[in-house]
Amino acid sequence: MTYTFDFAAGLAYWPLLLQGIWTTLRLTLFCTVFGILIGALCAVIRTGGPVWAQRLIGLYVEFIRNTPLLIQAYFLIFGVASLGVRLPILVGATIALTINIGAYTTEIVRAGIESIHKGQLEAAQCLGLGRVQTYLHVVIRPALERVYPALASQYVLLMLASSTLSSVGVAELFGMASRIQSDTFRNFEVFVLLGILYLVLAVTVRAGFSLLGLMLFPRRRKLGTPL
């Protein structure tokens, strides 16, 4: 071993790293919000909508979950651009990632909805709750609460998966690190640093989800037990 470690060489590029972290976080935040919206909506339709809509969403979920994210991103950024629709690269990547996470969320939330006991729905009916009220208070919220840990994991995975988007030209954390290592040739240090940064980011995202969970689900806050 004649290699001299020089972590300062990588750290000297901190403005680039910071930019990368910011892009990664923005991407994750946007995809989380829209992913959950799309997922919840699709899950509701898939469990109780018209048959044709259920089929359509089934197709969407199966198609997205069984093709690589990178191909979806290439398609949206380069494939669609060939037809003349030129999305800015970050926008294209965000849409690709949102569509992708939306499909996973649909499946997770669907599992949550299906876990709601029939008796709950009957009780809601007896209490005179309308269809929308029933969905909002009796179905969706407890369903989300039940699958919340699985959702949190999926969104941490999403944040980690966004690293592949550097190859379609998104200047997120991994892309920035690639630039730094090709500037400094400090492969070992840069990638160790990158690993640590992703670890910190993942822990942060997970902590964010825990806090959000406490805010959204008073039951958990008050009783401290999962539903």
């Binding site: 060939s82 030129r86 690269i89 030209g169 090709s182």
Partner: protein, 268 residues
Amino acid sequence: MKNLRAVITAGVATLVAVGAFATSSAHADTLQDILARGKIRISVDPAVPPYSVMDESGNWTGPEFEVARKLAADWKLELELVPTSPSKRIPDLLTGRSDVVVSSLSITDERKKVVDFSKPYTVISVVVGGPKSETVTKLEDLIGKRVAVTLGSTNDADLTRLAPAGVEIVRFEDEATSITALSSGQASYYVTAPALLIAVNERNPAAQLEPKIVLKNNIVGVGVKKGEPALLEKLNAWVDAGMADGSLNAIYKAAFGLDLPPELTQAK
């Protein structure tokens, strides 16, 4: 890349030093040998598209071959092309396998320690390519435009250093993805070797890219073994003549659609 090149050059230097000593006494004056023989042996790498390549029908084509043919023709000598490779170009000279090297050999300080160079006869440039219809003459004109470059390449480093703020640089994983971005219209400017612009135009005729701005020029000279002043002097005179009558520029322009930079064509 630069480090790698330095290592290779150093390695080559040590390797061939022994060989050079062994053969140096035998060839006191290469120029006299060439003239007596009536034949010049020129090392050219046939695998560096588009500078020098073997085409589908087995012919050697490209500007480097043109230059080699011109050299032999101007000196009224028979030409013997010695196929070589990037790592063999300098050893060819030092071991006497060839008389001169005309093979995209850019002039570097490391190489100058091992061989001599003629005056530069051409350049290998890094250019900003853009659509024919747009008028872009300097880097400031690129502000607000999307410029593709390959992530972490030397081109990336040069562009990042030189580009003014406001130029949207998009970095792609490799040249293939950059070309995909260009041919799908995701970016309309591309920092690369002029040759790759031709590749984009072939894939997407609508792109119509042409070299707009020269970012950097690596100057290229004819490589000669050290200690051959007569040959070197004749080569320099030949380069001067080729620059004066525009024939070297014509070869470059035919291949890349650009004129050689004035520091070459107007060098005295």
